[in-house]
């Protein structure tokens, strides 16, 4: 294992630190709460000459992603960061970055979408662009934010798809934690040099990027993009395992916490998973068979693997920190239910929409969900969707 350095860092600082070590050729970014610090800290790295990066302080998030697309098409290793409305403004360009198969890495600090305007955490922003063709990786804490950012570069370049790594706004972005980071040289070795296959600055072989596809080619190109997303699963697993060998922290598609014999299983992403672990420890101490499945990779969605992991569960609660406004379940629950349909549709799946706009979720709230689950596992009827922690 490689030597690690122990630091106290917020989620934003951890992500900026990862970016410094990656030392991208270009960063184009625009400030937005609660992600501003990432860009700000990175700008200070540029000002102090700690990175080789050309920093482009653009006039909007739309231009941030446009400049990233220009730089990545030109042949560079490129990163950016944003949140909420910024990600929404980028949405058009996110689809284009993925369609052009550009390995851009973006840190998104999850924040609620307007309206009403709100600066606190929920997952609406990331969920809004879940079908944009970006690999999406969620982080539970600052350590995972750092680890995921480093791995994202390697994953993106291997499969030629962009990757977004998320943290939860304020909860992780501004919370100080103990983290371990690798030496700069180790990160450099882990990600290797980026060698683009086709790029604008290669005058030996001039290329046209972003040509017009009509009815005769569009479908084939999208089909290839779909295949790239499918093919990213083994790459994500391999990179996570290689990272584990270096650091002792291995990563897969999701984390299983006390799942071996769990009867009541909660599925939660991001910081809530940490809160759930505390509650599950309490329940386990009382002899209750509670467990957690924490999806790390939301895109590609690990359908088969999640269905297999839930085979032994008697009841499942899916925690959604956003709503699809479809008058049904939240986006994570829909994915989980679709996964279970083929393999293990024989159990109650309860959906809890919670924490919108940064509404706090405490261990007690998690406790009420497990109360429901244990009752549901004994056959008691429970509502399909509940709104946890809202005044009604």
């Amino acid at each position: 294992m490689a030597k690690s350095n122990i630091l106290a860092r917020t989620g934003n600082e951890a992500m900026a630190e990862a970016m410094r070590q990656v030392n991208p050729d270009v960063v184009a970014a625009y400030p937005i709460t609660p992600a501003t610090e990432i860009v700000q800290i990175f700008a200070s790295f540029v000002a102090d000459g700690l990175v080789d990066t050309e920093f482009v302080p653009v006039e909007s998030e739309h231009s941030a992603m446009s400049a990233c697309i220009g730089a990545a098409s030109a042949g560079g290793r490129v990163m950016t960061g944003t949140s909420s409305q910024g990600l929404a403004l980028m949405a058009e360009m996110l689809y284009i970055a993925a369609g052009l198969r550009l390995p851009i890495v973006l840190s998104d600090v999850n924040r609620a979408l307007s309206s009403p305007i709100n600066i606190h955490c929920d997952h609406s922003d990331t969920m809004m662009v879940r079908d944009s063709g970006w690999i999406q990786i969620f982080s539970e804490n600052a350590q995972e934010a750092y680890d995921n950012m480093v791995q994202a570069v390697k994953i993106a370049e291997a499969v030629k798809l962009p990757v977004v790594v998320t943290t939860d706004g304020f909860i992780i972005s501004h919370g100080m934690e103990r983290i371990e980071i690798l030496d700069d040289a180790e990160v450099k070795k882990f990600i290797g040099d980026y060698k683009p296959e086709h790029y604008l600055l290669n005058f030996e072989k001039p290329i046209t990027v972003g040509a017009l596809d009509l009815t005769d080619y569009y479908f084939e190109h999208k089909r290839q993009e779909i295949e790239a997303m499918k093919a990213s699963t083994p790459v994500i697993i391999a990179v996570g395992s290689e990272f584990g060998k270096k650091t002792g922290r291995s990563y897969g598609l999701f984390e299983k916490y006390k799942m071996e014999d769990a009867e009541a299983v909660m599925i939660a992403m991001g910081s809530t998973a940490g809160t759930a672990k505390v509650k599950i420890d309490e329940l386990r101490a009382k002899g209750l068979k509670a467990g957690l499945l924490k999806p790390r990779v939301f895109r590609p969605f690990p359908k088969e693997e999640i269905a297999d992991a839930l085979k032994g569960a008697k009841a499942v609660a899916v925690m959604d920190r956003s709503d699809s406004m479809n008058a049904q379940e939240g986006p994570l629950c829909l994915e989980v239910k679709a996964a279970l349909y083929d393999k293990a549709a024989n159990k109650p799946v309860l959906n809890y929409v919670y924490g919108l706009g940064g509404r706090e979720i405490k261990p007690e709230d998690i406790g009420t969900v497990f109360d429901d689950l244990f009752e549901a596992s004994k056959g008691k009827e429970k509502p399909g969707v509940s709104y946890l922690g809202v005044r009604e």
């Binding site: 653009v58 220009g70 600055l201 001039p206």
Partner: protein
């Protein structure tokens, strides 16, 4: 540029693209690249030029080319240029490269104005060329911020009550000059020497540059395809579109030998035919007065003291 030498070069914007007969945008692309040479990266906003030149699996571009969206040709080229600066600084790249963005007037005056302004303010070493055909031609002749007053377009049509576009166009070149960029210019389709000289001059200067090329559109302006260059030149002679350059704030105007009435230019185009009905005389006069006023203002910018006398 020496025309005898230029024609011996490899075509950088080839024929076989699908532009209309008499399309001015294709002429702009070809002449700009003739002046810029092969070491050029091009970005292009969504629009006529992009649509006719890059229908997969074909491309008319023999230089590296990128199109990503409509409103961001300037942001996209600034990203490519940033990568170039980064690689140069890191000692990874030593070729000298020009970065040129092309956008129509819709993609430049309207939806792309913010990204253009941002790129100019940040000072990238790029040249932005607006091929200005005074409306959204790719989607079928809708009015834009560049459409002149009185023009017939599909979203400001001539009807029983309205007489085409009711507003004057905005002066985008002045807006670019106000950014304090080292080089801004207006040119036309129909004077290749003027356009290519301006491109060469722009590319010899470090920093952000802007050229607003007036581009007659045979479809949207409704005239015979062979008149494209003539209509461009007539715009200069009537001061409908003065050609000039602004180098570090200093104006230099290429004046017509004799300033002709703007009607001479308007009458060549279908989009202005309604102006010649007797009931629209006041509007025609207004357009002439506005052109006179703009011309006087421009002359003052070139030689402030002289014009005050």
């Amino acid at each position: 540029m020496n025309i005898k030498e230029a024609v011996k070069q490899k075509e950088l914007f080839t024929g076989g693209h699908r532009a209309c007969a008499g399309c001015g945008a294709a002429i702009v692309a070809r002449q700009v690249l003739m002046a810029a040479g092969p070491n050029t990266v091009v970005s292009n906003a969504t629009g006529c030029l992009e649509v006719v030149s890059t229908i997969f699996p074909y491309t008319a571009w023999n230089v590296p080319f990128i199109h990503s969206a409509f409103e961001n040709a300037a942001a996209t080229i600034s990203g490519a240029e940033a990568l170039y600066q980064s690689w140069r600084r890191q000692g990874k790249y030593d070729k000298k490269v020009n970065f040129i963005a092309f956008g129509g007037d819709g993609g430049t005056y309207d939806i792309g104005l913010q990204s253009l302004s941002g790129a100019m303010e940040r000072g990238h070493n790029i040249l932005y060329v607006c091929y200005n055909n005074e409306a959204y031609m790719n989607t079928g002749v809708q009015r834009s911020g560049a459409t002149p007053k009185g023009a017939d377009t599909t979203t400001a049509p001539v009807g029983k009550v309205k007489k085409g576009k009711e507003q004057y166009r905005k002066d985008l070149t002045a807006i670019m000059v106000a950014h304090g960029i080292p080089y801004a210019a207006q040119a036309i389709v129909g004077n290749w020497r003027d356009l290519t000289s301006k491109v060469e001059k722009a590319l010899s200067i470090e920093g952000p540059k802007f050229i607003n090329v007036f581009q007659p559109c045979r479809l949207g302006w409704s005239y015979k395809p062979e008149l494209t260059c003539e209509i461009g030149r007539m715009a200069v002679d009537t001061c409908a579109w003065p050609i000039y350059e602004v180098v570090n704030g200093q104006y230099k105007i290429t004046k017509p030998r004799e300033k002709k009435p703007i009607a001479d230019w308007l009458k060549l185009q279908g989009r202005f035919q309604h102006l010649f009905k007797p009931e629209n005389k006041a509007l025609l006069d207004d357009i002439q007065h506005a052109a006179d006023r703009n011309w006087e203002e421009l002359l003052k910018k070139e030689a402030p003291e002289k014009s005050e006398k």
